[in-house]
Symmetry: C2
Subunit: 206 residues, 2 copies
């Protein structure tokens, strides 16, 4: 019996980089077997970028390497600081995931984000193998399209042009988050400066 | 005469996306014409990633699409908020660049970073065409390998497997910065929380 609190990750059965592959493959299946979800993934993958956009045919070639991942509610998908043992990037198709960046205790409204269809998670650990940068927990049943490290490597080998365009898109998504985090950092630095000023003022008054 | 305060960007002469290409191409030349710098670029491009690593031959294929860019000291390479009119990613080969993220006035030590050989700049605007996220100014004479948007597009067409691997590496670099910025955000949120606590305490005392 699969552990209900362990997500299916859609890792490739042949990938040596996925130690828990045998437990995983029994619980996922090719995304192409569910045509409505596969079509949804095709649309979401085709997010236009300034540089390149995948055609529908190219997006379908990506989808052919994806597995359908179904995760129950209240499941921890990634835990901050975990080593990248789940070598799979997930494209959310249905349901929502809470992302906790470990900033609880700071200013309100910045520490937790809820993301939904079209968002991707796990792509950074897939790329660099470094520990997770945030904790992700499902807040509903989640259906996602999973692309494992082995799947991405095979995509690069078999459809390199498509893989190159996909990676431009993934890099762009990460860049978007970097810009957004930079804005948050600016807000925090302004809050800190303003608090410091009030603290100094109070000291002078007393 | 070229304006000494406008950097050479190494844009492709044929790229329609580079409006200032005619002014630029007179001041750059193929990187391959300077074998020592080309060899340095090959080594720097081959930074190992968890996923894929370019072979020396593959890195040389990237270098073939690069132009040598020489920038005088005290030149503004990118200005925060600028639209991405300079569609070129620069791999620094010699010299140093100060990166100002606009956080001056916040906690000391976080607002300005100095980067050197092996660092890349301009890759985010190249990818998404969004405004620059930071201002970059040379603090010495800088020699860099420039890959324009047109060059990257041609690399994707002509050597897609190499381009895919290069983009994995670029995405990984951006992810690295995202992780680092996340850590800085955590530090700022802790500073803000600690200042708020002291402010509350002083209020109770007075």
């Amino acid at each position: 019996m699969p552990d209900p609190k362990t997500p299916s990750t859609g890792a490739e059965p042949t990938s040596p980089a996925a130690p828990d592959a045998s437990a995983i493959t029994s619980r996922t299946r090719p995304l192409d077997e569910t045509p409505t979800l596969a079509a949804m993934a095709v649309e979401l993958i085709r997010t236009p970028t300034a540089l390149v956009q995948l055609s529908a045919d190219e997006a379908r070639q990506v989808v052919a390497f994806m597995r359908m991942v179904v995760v129950p509610k209240d499941t921890v998908l990634l835990r901050e600081g975990d080593a990248g043992s789940v070598n799979t990037m997930l494209l959310l198709l249905e349901g929502q995931v809470a992302v906790d960046t470990g900033l609880a205790g700071g200013a309100p409204g910045l520490e937790i984000a809820v993301i939904g269809p079209g968002s991707i998670i796990g792509e950074m650990s897939l790329l660099d193998g470094a520990p997770r940068s945030a904790s992700c927990t499902t807040v509903s049943i989640v259906k996602a399209a999973g692309l494992s490290r082995g799947g991405l490597e095979r995509l690069i080998e078999e459809h390199p042009r498509v893989a190159a365009k996909l990676m431009v898109g993934v890099a762009q998504r990460i860049a978007e988050r970097l810009r957004s985090l930079g804005q948050q950092l600016l807000v925090y630095s302004q809050i800190a400066a303003s608090l410091q000023a009030r603290l100094d003022q109070q000291r002078h008054e007393t």
